[in-house]
């Protein structure tokens, strides 16, 4: 008898869970998300077939929350993957997010994995971006005290070392924000990081910062200042500095914005520095953001009413010896009519790198149209990008036209995307091309299906009425997302 009970102990446990869940489901709240993705990559020397599934489950019981996720990569899709043979490390299944959280009136305590930020993310921002495979989530303890007047955050956690997943870096931090007599708030932040060195010793990085936010009906200002000190690192002791400010003035229907940034030796993988330009481009690919950059941004927006708006944004950035320079101009206008919406955009980005004798210019005018075609909502976007690149003695310029056509019927949306790269319009047959079709629908109320076939260049995409970021791709991609 006892052997029978032991043998079936698992199923007995399941029955107990079923019964107790049925009796207490009104108190236990269960929710979650399952994302499944199948990819067929059309490349001669790639693995071709990839499958990824992530299941996240959250249980809430009174003030306790428990979260856990399970990931299966069979194998993991890597946009740069060129291996033809299946490597053991590419097949992986693991428990990922695991945490328990206590939510009381003014207090939140969490043990396990978490994301967190201080201020505008300049001093500390831990986050995960699946699209770009960025993951700086922390594992440890996180506490927040939130009252009507102030907020206090504290953390002590670890994250995998950048160069070795078998080792960990450690971070501790405190962040305090307080209301400022009803006109804004002030904040103070302090972090201490222990970063593993190549010789298995640890360097220390201390960061301290302050910020102020002022808010009135006609004017608001956000400003943040931070200093860092690193010691016991391989390169010796160093100090860094970060200054960031953004101000807006609201004058009738006009909004005038000004911004300033300056970062000196302030690069760290646990911060997220503002680019302060409309294209979100860093100053240079050969230098980490925050190492040495300074910049200004100005913007004017005019909203005469809800049916129209115009905006101009211009920014410049440079490094300390002016060998790196960037300018970014973005102009947009939108007019909402009864039967259609018209949008016009112009973007111009220029980058100069004197040390590499490199100069780059991108001009992208675009026209956007929303209307009803045979009573079906339709969106058209046309762009004619022009790119010019000079590197040393060589130069190249080309056009990059894009046409996107979205149409919606009932619960289904279809998107056609055609993008070309050509040096002369007379040489259309020699043009590089990216052609793709995307179908999006909700199979049932809580399950979305997205199928993409073709090629895409990657970047920010607003398609079928939603926006997301994607990486360059060629092949077939099927995404199934279920919420419960």
């Amino acid at each position: 008898m006892s052997r029978t009970i032991k043998t079936h102990s698992f199923w007995i446990t399941v029955v107990i869970i079923l019964i107790s869940s049925s009796l207490s489901y009104a108190q236990v709240e269960i929710s979650g998300l399952n994302e499944a993705e199948y990819i067929y990559k059309a490349a001669e020397d790639s693995l071709s077939h990839y499958f990824y599934n992530e299941t996240f489950l959250r249980l809430n019981y009174n003030s306790i929350e428990v979260g856990i996720s399970f990931i299966a990569e069979l194998p993991k899709y890597d946009q740069f993957d060129t291996i033809a043979d299946l490597h053991p490390n590419d097949i992986d299944y693991r428990w990922d997010d695991r945490y328990i959280q206590l939510n009381l009136n003014n207090l939140r305590l969490r043990a396990g994995s978490f994301t967190e930020f201080f201020g505008a993310g300049i001093i500390m921002r831990s986050y995960r971006d699946k699209t770009y495979d960025h993951d700086t989530r922390l594992t440890g303890l996180n506490a927040q005290v939130i009252t009507g007047e102030w907020v206090l955050k504290g953390l002590y956690a670890s994250l995998p070392d950048e160069n070795s997943s078998n080792h960990k870096d450690v971070i501790g931090g405190l962040d305090f924000t307080r209301q400022l007599f009803g006109v804004g708030n002030i904040g103070l932040s302090l972090t201490s990081q222990q970063i593993r060195r190549f010789d298995n010793r640890y360097s220390t990085r201390l960061t301290a910062g302050s910020r102020i936010e002022l808010i009135t009906d006609y004017f608001d200002l956000y400003s943040e200042y931070a200093e860092s000190k690193s010691y016991r690192s391989v390169s010796g002791e160093s100090r860094g500095q970060a200054i960031y400010g953004l101000a807006n003035a609201y004058i009738n229907r006009f909004t005038v914005t000004g911004g300033y940034k300056k970062f000196t030796r302030f690069d760290n993988r646990l911060n997220d520095l503002p680019t302060l330009n409309s294209s979100e481009e860093p100053l240079s690919e050969r230098m980490n953001p925050g190492e040495d950059e300074e910049g200004l941004m100005g913007q004017v927006r005019f909203n005469p009413d809800f049916t129209s708006e115009v905006g101009v944004t211009y920014s410049e950035a440079w490094n300390s010896n002016f060998s790196l320079r960037q300018s970014d101009l973005f102009v947009e206008g939108r007019k909402y009519y009864d039967s259609f919406t018209l949008g016009l955009e112009y973007a111009q980005l220029e980058l100069i790198d004197e040390e590499r004798q490199q100069w780059q210019k991108e001009i992208t005018p675009a026209v956007l149209l929303d209307f009803n075609l045979l009573s079906l909502p339709t969106h058209i976007r046309t762009e004619l990008g022009y790119h010019e690149k000079v590197r040393g003695e060589s130069s190249r310029d080309y056009y990059n036209p894009l046409l996107q056509f979205d149409i919606f019927f009932n619960r289904l949306s279809l998107s056609f995307i055609a993008e070309l790269e050509l040096e002369e319009f007379s040489e259309l047959s020699d043009a590089g091309s990216w052609l793709g079709i995307e179908l999006t629908t909700d199979i049932i109320s809580n399950t979305d299906l997205k199928i993409f076939i073709g090629e895409e260049r990657g970047g920010k995409v607003c398609r079928s009425g939603v926006c997301y970021y994607t990486t360059p791709f060629k092949g077939l991609r099927i995404n199934l997302t279920t919420r419960f």
Partner: protein, 178 residues
Amino acid sequence: MRANLKIIAVLGIIVLISLLNSEPIQEFSLPDINNQSFSIANHLGEKMIVIDFWASWCAPCMRLLPELDKIDQTYEDVMVIAVSVDNPRSVNRAKSLIRSHKYSFVTLYDTNQEIMNRFQVTTVPHTFLINLDGEIVYEHTGYTRGDEEKLLDRIEQELTQKQVEPEVREQEIERIEE
């Protein structure tokens, strides 16, 4: 491996149970545009609530916001809450957009995207309608011209079911009588 499979099986059963149950909205608090804490728990049951997750870099989101503002101004029994999911580096731009347009609805800032994850939102805009019982009765991803009509139809349906006359109907009746 066997232990993992058993745990997966248990989790799968729990998921199946949850699919059979109607889940009320989970209460949450987020800072508003003035960085003051706003708790949805204080407003559940008082009015129907439209929650829209949006981002300043999302063009369809920008087209939806004026429609939500009209709903907020038209219906006394409906509260619109627009939750920005901009990250810390772009949240100030999101606040500036709201202030410059002078929208009347409540705007909250989910900078860490915690509430967005709790609502299982993966793309924006994503709109929910919560009834007076605190249940999600409408959900829609994306925005194209005319989508606001579906939301309005659902609001009218809920108002009719709860036999709560919307303020706009009273105003229309008064106007006709005049």
